[in-house]
């Protein structure tokens, strides 16, 4: 691992809360780590566990999944269903040996630009400590 290696972090976010929150961070000219690549979804309920696997397959070192706080979903219940799915998926990923520091879940609302900034900075640091996800990349 070279001295100036930077982690690649994929963020799967919902359109109505976290994406708007990240947008607010941008328009408020808040500064945060540029390591994150954001993909916007209509809702966290749309985020299939397969997307997360696909992200790791394509070289992500860490993944963040984020959406509206419970009760705030634009489609009323999407995030509740997503939360149930994540409970299983997170346990499965841990069980096969993926470090918990590489897979993060979060609720960030449209007004929580500060939380988004802190979250990205924290995750970037954490993944940086873990280093590149070589185990997965070696599977080629």
């Amino acid at each position: 691992m070279s001295e100036n290696w930077e982690p690649r972090i994929m963020a799967f976010v919902c359109n109505w809360c976290t994406y708007a929150g990240a947008d607010l961070a941008g328009t408020s000219r808040m500064e945060y780590k540029p390591n994150v690549r954001i993909i916007r979804f209509p809702c966290t309920g749309r985020i299939d566990p397969l997307f997360i696997i696909k992200a790791f397959e394509n070289g992500a070192d860490g993944v963040l999944v984020s959406g509206c706080h419970p009760g705030d979903c634009h489609y009323t219940t999407g995030n509740y269903h997503a939360r149930r799915r994540w409970i299983g998926f997170k346990n499965l990923m841990e069980f096969v040996g993926i470090d918990t520091g590489r897979l993060h879940f979060s609720w960030v609302s449209a007004s929580e630009a500060g939380k988004w900034v802190d979250l990205i900075n924290r995750i970037t640091e954490e993944v940086k400590k873990l280093g590149p996800f070589l185990e997965y990349r070696r599977l080629k």
Partner: protein, 297 residues
């Protein structure tokens, strides 16, 4: 027991209650059992039931087998563990209760693999599910055949699978990764685990979709990992731990461990065990606003 089973099957076929009875029969050499589809009353004599009847025949109730469905109402010979799968199929709206006739068999356990059979049922050759079975007397059936079995499963689940789960949970992430990659790297992508599973009934499996190609189809470690993770995930909160996937696996990947781990997560997080009540929704179909979210920051 077999006499009663054959008489029941013959009667059902004669009075046209069912169009076909799906059951077990001997192979030609009488060494293994194999599924049999009885449509004529006189063929009911071919039906058998013994500890070699390991197959979970509920797979023939799914839409993977339209030919079987076309024969009319299906009578199915089922052990308690098979009935659990039927219950899941009912809970998910795949079959209607009145479309099937369940011939429930009381069961004292089956062998883990038919090759292990030496004429006697010993605890060593029984799979983990039998040691913890609470459905030895069928919990949902139209007729129950056989004498009532008195067996109380142990308070805490016991057996090889549970020991292995505890062992793996005690490992470090990199050890776990090594363990699973060692197993998954053997996968040859034959999809026997999917074909034998009565709950993998999608008409088009995600792995068969190639625009885009979600799961790499060649049998190399990266695609193998994706396939095995997604297969386990799609059975989360549904798998009844019948063990057919592991039995069908030609390269002995311990899929039971993976499935049972997720079943334990469902039990702990949603207090749900699949396959007992067709009226209760599977956990991923519903939600509770109070679900735990200690892992969501």
């Amino acid at each position: 027991m077999e006499r009663e089973l054959r008489d029941t099957a013959r009667r059902l076929l004669e009075d046209k209650t069912v169009g076909v009875v799906v059951g077990y029969s001997w192979n030609r050499k009488k060494t293994r059992t194999t599924p049999v589809f009885v449509t004529k009353p006189e063929d009911a004599e071919r039906l058998i039931f013994n500890p070699l009847c390991v197959n979970n025949l509920s797979v023939y109730l799914t839409r993977k087998y339209p030919d079987v469905r076309a024969l009319g109402r299906i009578g199915i010979v089922a052990k308690g563990c098979d009935i659990r799968n039927i219950v899941v199929l009912m809970a998910e709206g795949q079959i209607q209760r009145e479309d099937i006739y369940i011939i429930g068999m009381t069961c004292s356990g089956v062998v883990y693999r038919q090759e292990l059979w030496e004429g006697e049922l010993k605890p060593e050759i029984m799979p983990t599910k039998c040691h913890n079975c609470d459905v030895r007397n069928p919990h949902l059936a139209d007729t129950v055949i056989g004498e009532r079995v008195s067996f109380t499963p142990p308070e805490t689940p016991q057996g090889v699978v549970f020991d292995r789960i505890r062992e793996i949970e005690g490992m470090s992430p990199s050890e776990r990764w090594e363990f699973w990659m060692g197993h998954f790297s053997r996968c040859i992508k034959c999809y026997a685990c999917r074909q034998v599973c009565s709950l993998c009934y999608c008409e088009r499996c995600i792995t068969d979709k190639n625009m885009p190609q979600w799961i790499e189809t060649s049998a190399h470690p990266r695609g193998n990992l994706a396939w095995n993770l997604i297969r386990a995930m799609h059975l989360f909160g549904r798998c009844t731990f019948c063990g057919e996937c592991e039995r069908a696996c030609p390269v002995n990947i311990p899929l039971n461990i993976l499935n049972q781990k997720l079943a334990m997560v469902a039990k702990e997080a949603f207090d749900y065990s699949s396959g007992y009540d067709p009226e209760v929704h599977p956990p991923l179909r519903v939600f509770d606003p109070e679900d735990r979210e200690d892992f969501i920051k």
